[in-house]
């Protein structure tokens, strides 16, 4: 699913760019069904920053969040594979928490450089079960590989910004 730039909000905090997409609900459809079946669903997020040209990525950051749904307490748990976790969340809370934990550094970028930002979200197969049983561990290389190959899973979202400068974000 490709979404217009109006759905992607970019903010700057210190040397990091943060993103938000309040109208994107990735806890929906098939991933949500799998969650309600008691399985966990990994969501891979990738932020790509372009500097000066849209042909060549300037910087990229990838992150995986594993979400599960508590069958008895009827709320969600989310775990950032490289960091924190939260439990007892509602679906909107999970989505918000994931975005809050996403950031890409602006180090080395001049305030007047022309930038573009792309956000990709992909729901992966549940690690539980015979067909989706893959190594639950994660590495940067494996995540990049995930985004490098064409998406077979229809549950993915791509959001692209229009051109902007760091100066624009400070106003």
């Amino acid at each position: 699913m490709r979404v217009s730039s109006e759905d992607l909000y970019i903010t700057r905090l210190n040397d990091d760019l943060h993103v938000a997409a309040p109208r994107i609900h990735f806890l929906s459809g098939q991933p949500l069904t799998r969650l309600h079946d008691g399985m966990s669903v990994p969501f891979d997020f990738q932020i790509t920053l372009f500097n000066g040209t849209r042909d060549m990525p300037f910087r990229r950051t990838v992150d995986r969040f594993v979400v599960s749904y508590d069958l008895w307490e009827e709320n969600f748990k989310v775990l950032r594979v490289r960091g924190a976790r939260r439990t007892g969340l509602s679906a909107p809370d999970v989505e918000r928490w994931c975005f809050n934990n996403l950031a890409i550094s602006t180090a080395g970028i001049a305030r007047t450089d022309k930038l573009w930002l792309r956000l990709e979200i992909r729901a992966q197969d549940s690690p539980e079960g015979a067909t989706g049983a893959s190594d639950p561990g994660i590495s940067l290389a494996s995540l990049i590989e995930v985004f490098a190959r064409p998406a077979k899973n229809p549950q993915h979202w791509t959001l692209e910004s229009t051109a902007f400068h760091l100066d624009d974000l400070d106003r």
Partner: protein, 426 residues
């Protein structure tokens, strides 16, 4: 090698193991998947295997299911279990689903077998080496579209009968014929025969009709009467080309089989009972050159507790009338009177048979004792006994993949001449 079986009947057929342990052990260390999934803190109330058709699961898989019930949810173990079931039933996939249990903190695990609409499988139904028979190998390719499946098989089998038969077979099966309880199958076989020297020599003094090729057309209908009980009826139209040349003879028979299976699963002891009766009756009214009736009864009981298993088996048969060689009983192979060479027992086989087996297994190790006799009407049966030991295991591919390395030797023969058997899926 025998399998402990259970049937899951019909589209919504579910085997539920409703066992709950009072105290759930703590997870041993945990892993990344369990850590990520909030439900891993709950206890497994039951594990259901759901699918579209009948499945046969091996005892190790059943033991694994039993082992997980009552314990804290272990997603890695569930994944291994789903993969094992997937391998055994040749499904497209086995997915795991959780539901709330009947009490707080408990969950039900549903393993859904997805066969897919169209499938193609290659299997090795039998593959073994027997030190007195040589190699036996059977391969089978099956294409399944919906409820219909077509199979093509190749075989060179020196184990089951007095003859080595080599050739091909083609079969068609429709699993649902108006009802999920009725199925139809059609089999065509074309085999060429090779006779053991002992059989050829014996046939000179006791003339028997030997043939060099055998073709069989066998349509049959199976009706699942009740859970665990099925009846099969059909006809078998065999055409036999004489070894010495001349006109082919036919052995046309009506066939019937009744099978019964029961599994009793308990928290400590699992028991399986299998019994069957089959009859093949050939008459001149069916255009048969042979007129006979062949009756066979088989029974098997197994009881297992943890890694211990005891198996008791029995079979008996009788032929009334003049039956062709492929119908005659020939114990002394990889499944009966193990340790004996069937050509030493009787190179022409017999029209009466009775044999039994007692086996004890502990993990992969098994020891067994076989006893039995084959004779002709009017003769006095000579009971033979044998003792053996072996190792068995699961390779994890090619069908059920039980493999066995065994040796056995005849008792009371005055000499120790062991027979070795190595193979899979028998």
């Amino acid at each position: 090698m025998r399998y402990l079986r259970f049937l899951l009947l019909g589209a919504a057929c579910i085997l539920a193991i409703q066992v709950r342990a009072g105290n759930a052990p703590e997870p041993d260390g945990g892993n990344a998947v369990d850590d990520a999934n909030v439900n891993s803190r709950y206890t497994v109330e039951s594990i259901d295997v759901a699918g579209q058709h009948d499945y046969t699961l091996s005892q190790p898989v059943l033991n694994e299911i039993h082992g997980l019930v009552g314990t804290r949810l272990d997603f890695e173990a569930l994944t291994r279990l789903a993969r094992a079931i997937n391998r055994e039933v040749h499904a497209r996939g086995v997915s795991v689903r959780l539901m709330r249990g009947s009490a707080p903190e408990y969950v039900r695990v549903i393993l859904e077998v997805n066969e897919g609409h169209n499938r193609f499988d290659i299997s090795v139904p039998k593959f073994l080496w027997h030190s007195s028979e040589g190699w036996t190998a059977e391969g089978k390719a099956t294409a399944t579209v919906g409820n219909n499946s077509v199979s093509f098989g190749l075989a060179s089998n020196a184990d089951d009968l007095l003859e080595r038969y080599a050739g091909y077979n083609v079969s068609f099966e429709r699993r649902s014929l108006g009802s999920d309880k009725v199925s139809f199958a059609f089999l065509f076989e074309d085999y060429h025969q090779e006779w053991n020297q002992a059989t050829l020599a014996a046939a000179e003094t006791d003339p028997q009709f030997l043939y060099r090729s055998r073709r069989n057309v066998e349509p049959e209908v199976t009706w699942i009467v009740a859970r665990g009980l099925s009846m099969t009826a059909g006809v078998s139209l065999e055409s036999l080309e004489p070894q010495a040349g001349g006109q082919a003879l036919s052995a046309n028979a009506v066939t019937g089989t009744v099978k019964y299976h029961r599994t009793v699963e308990g928290s400590a002891l699992n028991q399986n009972v299998d019994a069957s009766y089959s009859v093949r009756a050939a008459t001149h009214e069916l255009g048969s050159d042979f007129a006979y009736a062949r009756h066979m009864v088989k029974g098997r009981y197994t009881a297992s507790h943890n890694r211990h298993e005891v198996e008791v088996g029995f079979e008996g048969g009788a032929i009334v009338g003049n039956a062709p060689m492929f119908e005659r009983f020939a114990p002394g192979n990889s499944g009966t009177l193990r340790g004996w060479n069937k050509f030493d027992v009787d190179p022409l086989g017999g029209t009466r048979v009775a044999d039994g087996s007692l086996a004890y297994k502990y993990g992969p190790v098994r020891v067994f004792y076989d006893a039995g006799a084959v004779w002709d009407r009017g003769d006095r049966p000579e009971v033979r006994q044998s003792l053996g030991a072996g190792l068995e295991g699961n390779l994890g591919f090619l069908g059920h993949n039980e493999f066995l390395l065994a040796f056995a030797f005849p008792l009371n023969q005055g000499r120790l001449e062991p027979v070795f058997v190595a193979g899979m899926n028998f």
